[in-house]
Amino acid sequence: MKSDTVKLNLEAVGPATERPISVAIVAMGGQGGGVLTNWIVDLAETQGWVAQSTSVPGVAQRTGATIYYVEMMPHDPEGRAPILAQMPTPGDVDVVIASEFMEAGRSILRGIVTPDRTTLIASDHRALAVTEKMAPGEGIADSGAVFDAIGVTAQQEFIFDMNDLATRNGSVISSAMFGALAASGTLPFPRDAFYEVIRKGGKGVEASIRTFDAAFDRAVNGPAAETLAPATEDAETVTVPTQVRSRKANRLLQQLLKEQPAEVQEIAFLGLKKVVDFQDAAYGREYLDLLRDLQARDAAAGGTARGWLFTREAAKYLANAMAYDDIMRVADAKTRQARRQRIEQDLGLKGDQTLQTTEFMHPRMEELTSILPARLAAAIIARPRLYAWLDRRFNKGRRVKTYSLSGFVVLYALAGYRRMRRLSLRHRDEIAHRGAWLDQATEALDRDYDLGVEVLRFRRLIKGYSDTHDRGKSKFDKVMATARRLTGREDAAQWARILLTSAVKDSSHQSLDETIQTVETFV
């Protein structure tokens, strides 16, 4: 190679230090990247530096990913104007500021975060992309992968939830990012110079400065002590009481504690509360009895050695299956006191403000018949002309004012109608459906423990109302049928898992059908 042969004693034209400081701001359109860019330019110029910023707005401004770029150099004593670049060069960026965590990830993929020079300032909150939200189940990108990549790419990093910090201080994320930038020490300007720029803006100055300071402190000192404790652990640890006040509840609790092994108790307690809340104490008893039988099957299949995995999954999904979504449950959820409190809190209701909510309901004839006593429902279904006549009158959108007396009373009465639930057509169908599902799970369990567990997990596919519910059910049926054909294979559980994953992520059945086709090539 020529480069190896040529080694001349030539110096670069200028001193190597004489390069601009480069700052790239990666953001989503309309997220304050422009404000931050202007602040940085203003900051440099008021400090006597030469600064140039560029951006590519256009359609990217409509919520898409976009990038702003600033270069700055000290004023040349000879008065020469520096030639500044209009876009970041991968491997040559001093500071990258990301207003959202996946955008930080994108900046790494652009190659503008490198360990030899780049300080990465990023907010680790997420604004989900459409593709993440669209999946009919869990489709959210893994932030952990971004943390891993930051670990090997950034020279130094300042990562925290700047959006939350800004909101708590009554301002917007640009102030928080500006504070973190000041704290990073990457720009040779005093803190006061940053204040000066914010003050010049004139709007919301106090909140901006408060946010700036909070972000500065957070960047320098790390998280405050109380937030260090992992909050998620608190939420997921459930303590099962040994005794509760209500006699009815206590009887159920004691049955649970007696019949279920310690590993299962937590989740079964949550399940129990859910089904009792859905119907009544007797229903809780039904749940516990079913669970007891499942636990016995688990024991026979060697569940002890598996930490009662089958029973634990059964406790969870059986509760979900028993607390199905019908009109009474919805009406109940809408009329609870805690619900209004949550909305008031969400809205930050204060002073004398009053609140009203409007519900958007569209129950179809199907839903109405399903809550009628099974025989009456069957009689109506058997008369298509009557059914169609009723459907025309009943099947339409209904707007209900929850916190008006007339609206509330209707919902309240519907919620109270749950006393009749056990007689309903829906309940009969649910019991049959549940039974078939549990049968297949326990049958699988006897031959293949892991497959049994996976069949329980298929329950996750059943959700939603109306058409959505039907679609979920048809996915569930397909997966169940395919799983049945897998029984006996060594990798049956693995394939069952793949089936479930593709069903969860897929709204059109396309990828599920493809997976099923693959399975059919070998069973």
Partner: protein
Amino acid sequence: MAERSFAKEVEDLKLGDGDIFRGEGILAITKALLQSGISYVGGYQGSPISHLMDVLADANDLLEDLGVNYQASASEATAGAMLSASVMYPLRGAVAWKSTVGTNVASDALANLASGGVTGGAMVIVGEDYGEGSSIMQERTHAFAMKSQMWLLDPRPEQECMVNLIEKGFELSEASNTPVLLQVRVRSCHMHGSFVCKDNKRPEFTLKDALNTPRRDLSRIVLPPAAYVQEQEKIKQRFPAAIDFIKTHRLNEFFGDKAGSKTGIIVQGGLYNSTIRALQFLGLSDAYGNTQVPLYVMNVAYPTIDSEVAEFCDGLDHVLVVEEGQPEFIEQSISTVTARRKTPVTVHGKDYLPMGGDYTAAVLMGGIERFLEDHDPVQLGNRPPLPDPVPILTQPAVEKLKDVVPSRPPGLCTGCPERPIFAAMKLVHEELGEHHVSADIGCHLFSILPPFDLGTTTMGYGLGAASASAFNVKGAKRSIAIMGDGGFWHNGLTSGIGNAVFNKHDGVFLIIDNYYSSATGGQDILSSRAFNKRRKTNNSIVTAVKGIGVTWVRQIDRTYDVNQMRDVLREALTTDAEGPKVIVASSECMLNKQRRVKPQIRKAIQSGARTVTQRFGVDEDVCTGDHACIRLSGCPSLSVKELDDPLRDDPVAAIDNTCVACGNCGEVADAAVLCPSFYRADVVNNPTGWDRFRSRVTMGAIGFLQKRRERAAVSFDA
């Protein structure tokens, strides 16, 4: 009313001799026009030129003071034709648009203008929308300059240089009787910089002078035999005159010392900064542009000045032409020059640099390095380490990230009135099957992306309807053509609707009317509903459509009514009526509406007036986490959140506080029979005594019922 107000920045346009202007590139361009003594200015919005149109609109008072007539042109063709004012009269005028799309539209007018030639300086500012951030097909304006023989200026991205070239450009136009194109790239339009100002100039000869003493000259009109004479004039008089002017006024620049060099670089002005940065990385330039490799900077990209090229190439063995995009017009012309003159130099360009795509500093660094390695390795000397992200990008942790980071294309804003239209269309497709959908240019083109995935082609602004014209087939499923109000007035009324009427087209034509040219930044158009003291707004699309002969027209005044939207679409697709079925779906652009309404609401609340504010929400106990609602929406404020409930696997839908209560969520949940999770919360600020009393009584009764049920429930509280 445009999306962004430049009222403050417009003050900078009044700066006088010796003042320092600091600001965005587009403002610097506006200031340069005023310093050049223009009589008229116009154009059509579109990134990166939109802000120029917004600045001009906001600067109307100043323009009037200076005697400048500003027109918000109906299309680029209109703007191009407006330059005809400079044909007979010594009037300077400028128009601006997004290119190449705008130049495509205007090319008929430009070709006629260029043939007849101009008396007064005529300039077209084209925002060259090429490379990253571009929203259009990747082409060059260069070809238009060559085919019609208009001079193409491509200034270095430095405001001083840009301003100077605009001023000199008018003189060049007058000296050579030829219209001039000045191209600025996206980043230069939005580039913050500074320059030393001059006073604004009033035109010496005014439009009024022209109108009161009209002139005509048959030889300026494009009609044989004049057209043949004009061609000869272009070659024999205008071309040499331009060359002469460009050389005399040194519009192109030479940098670096040629003594001892074997190689040199010829670069388009617009790429100068990136080239210098590339040379700096290679250790061949400092930050101030002191380059060791001689540079010939073509601030005039067309025509090529033979003698300057020859002078630059004299003594060099190899030159590299740095020219973005394809075909390589400049490289070809340099090759022609050196071949004709038998200059002993080899011309390179696209053999070292990529044929297409952005010429970033990194791309140029690679190309220049290879060029020098082959032809002048001594120059490279002891190489400094070059910026190189590859070792980092190949790290396993970064490789893995590629599959994690979701794409984030632009989409409809929160509360966009177009969202329910596409939701309704999805619902109709579920009922009647998929239909062929011709899309158009505008925000509504985001329908082609998830979650809607609607639309097959886009053929140009206002051409959505026209691009469905082949699909006029009896007995087949009907085609649906979409067009925005912007595109409708730009040309769609005649090219699409008129065409469909005349040819008895059986398809469905959906005109989306959001009261502005929204995608380009919310400029007013004919059917805008707002009062505009300088323009006549409130011209009905429905009346226009009826006027051109459509008999089946449906107007929808609230696009958020998804049920109605769906029913009308269904009717249009199934009716027996003959001829085009036109639906005008109208609701105000939410971005602009919020900008208008938000301050009013804030003021009302502060003043103590009873004000209702609304937001939507999702009951997390009712939502089952299927996200069907999101698949019919994609609204930025409708997202998902994880619950802390170990019994539940999937995140539930959630609405954040950026919700503007457009109503789409609730309407879609109803129309698509999704689920009862959505609620609208109405908060009454500053309630009246009656409000408070009613709320107290109702909530008292409700609280009683709630407590009653709670007491009856089985509680697991310890």
